[in-house]
């Protein structure tokens, strides 16, 4: 009884996506270098802010992560619309990848925001408009991922996730409005919040570097997650078929 071991055999081309190349991508290498450069520049080559102290340096990693969190969600929303319209599973894989990477960045945003709030505002949490919106973004992401995890059928999973992705995007402006209205009612006591000072050039440059670095990091992580989605779908197709 012989079993022919052949490495030419791949998953059937029609039903499932093609496999991906292995190896570390360039995006990831560039991302690591860029983030490392940001860290070095922020820690050693950027001046301290006199009023806020060293904790102000969180500013280089917090809004940058926040921007990515919202960018990723925008991708989820667009890919969701695209999927319902075109029914192409590629778009669903885009949405799923953006969502998973997005929830990581959102979590980091919340934690770094808290670490920034304590020394600067005197409190670990404040129902600040942006932080609250980020918190809700986190809840929507988690709901989205849990929903995906609870549906076995590939096509139904894509369809339902797309519906939730779109509705979640519709919700964001309402949350923003609600928080704004709520806060006009309840002026929150914020101890010693400094008005945002205009940044000197060195700080702006560090911020710009951080902004670009974390965006590249997002792209690298997204691409890796997308590769994983392709491979997993190919594996599922093979196991089924």
């Amino acid at each position: 009884m012989t079993t022919q071991f052949t490495s030419d055999v791949r998953a059937p081309a029609v039903a499932s996506p093609q496999r991906t190349r292995s190896g570390i991508s360039w995006w990831f290498i560039v991302a690591v270098i860029a983030v490392a450069a940001t860290y070095i520049r922020a820690i050693y080559f950027t001046p301290l802010e006199a009023i806020q102290g060293p904790a102000q340096k969180i500013y280089y990693v917090h809004p940058t992560s926040a921007w990515v969190a919202f960018l990723a969600f925008g991708i989820v929303a667009l890919a969701s619309i695209g999927y319902l319209w075109l029914k192409d599973l590629k778009l669903d894989r885009v949405a799923e990848s953006a969502a998973e990477v997005g929830v990581v960045f959102t979590s980091v945003t919340l934690v770094t925001g808290s670490l920034w709030g304590k020394p600067i505002w005197g409190t670990w949490w404040t129902w600040d408009a942006r932080l609250t919106l980020t918190l809700f973004l986190w809840f929507i992401y988690v709901g989205y991922l849990v929903l995906r995890g609870a549906i076995e059928d590939r096509e139904m999973r894509a369809r339902y996730s797309a519906v939730l992705g779109i509705l979640g995007a519709l919700l964001i402006p309402f949350i923003h409005l609600s928080v704004y209205l709520f806060r006009t009612l309840h002026p929150m006591p914020i101890i010693g919040k400094p008005s945002r000072p205009s940044l000197p050039n060195e700080m702006l440059e560090t911020f710009a570097l951080a902004f670009v670095s974390f965006t590249i990091l997002f792209i690298a992580l997204f691409r890796a997650r997308y590769r994983l989605a392709i491979e997993r779908d190919a594996l599922d197709a093979q196991e089924r078929g």
């Binding site: 012989t2 102290g53 969180i58 020394p119 997650r225 994983l228 190919a234």
Partner: protein
């Protein structure tokens, strides 16, 4: 100037650790799926 460097140290460490751990998890999961897939393909009986 306030002595609050600890906060930003913690933040920078957390950022590096979380993104690094996530990247690592992606690599490990990708490897596991590829392994399973290759086993499935390679085990095809052609007799």
């Amino acid at each position: 100037m306030p002595h609050n460097a600890g906060y930003y140290h913690a933040a920078y460490i957390i950022v590096a650790v979380v993104y690094g751990a996530y990247a690592l998890s992606l690599w490990l999961r990708l490897r596991a799926v590829r392994r399973k897939h290759d086993q499935g393909s390679n085990g095809v009986r052609v007799d």
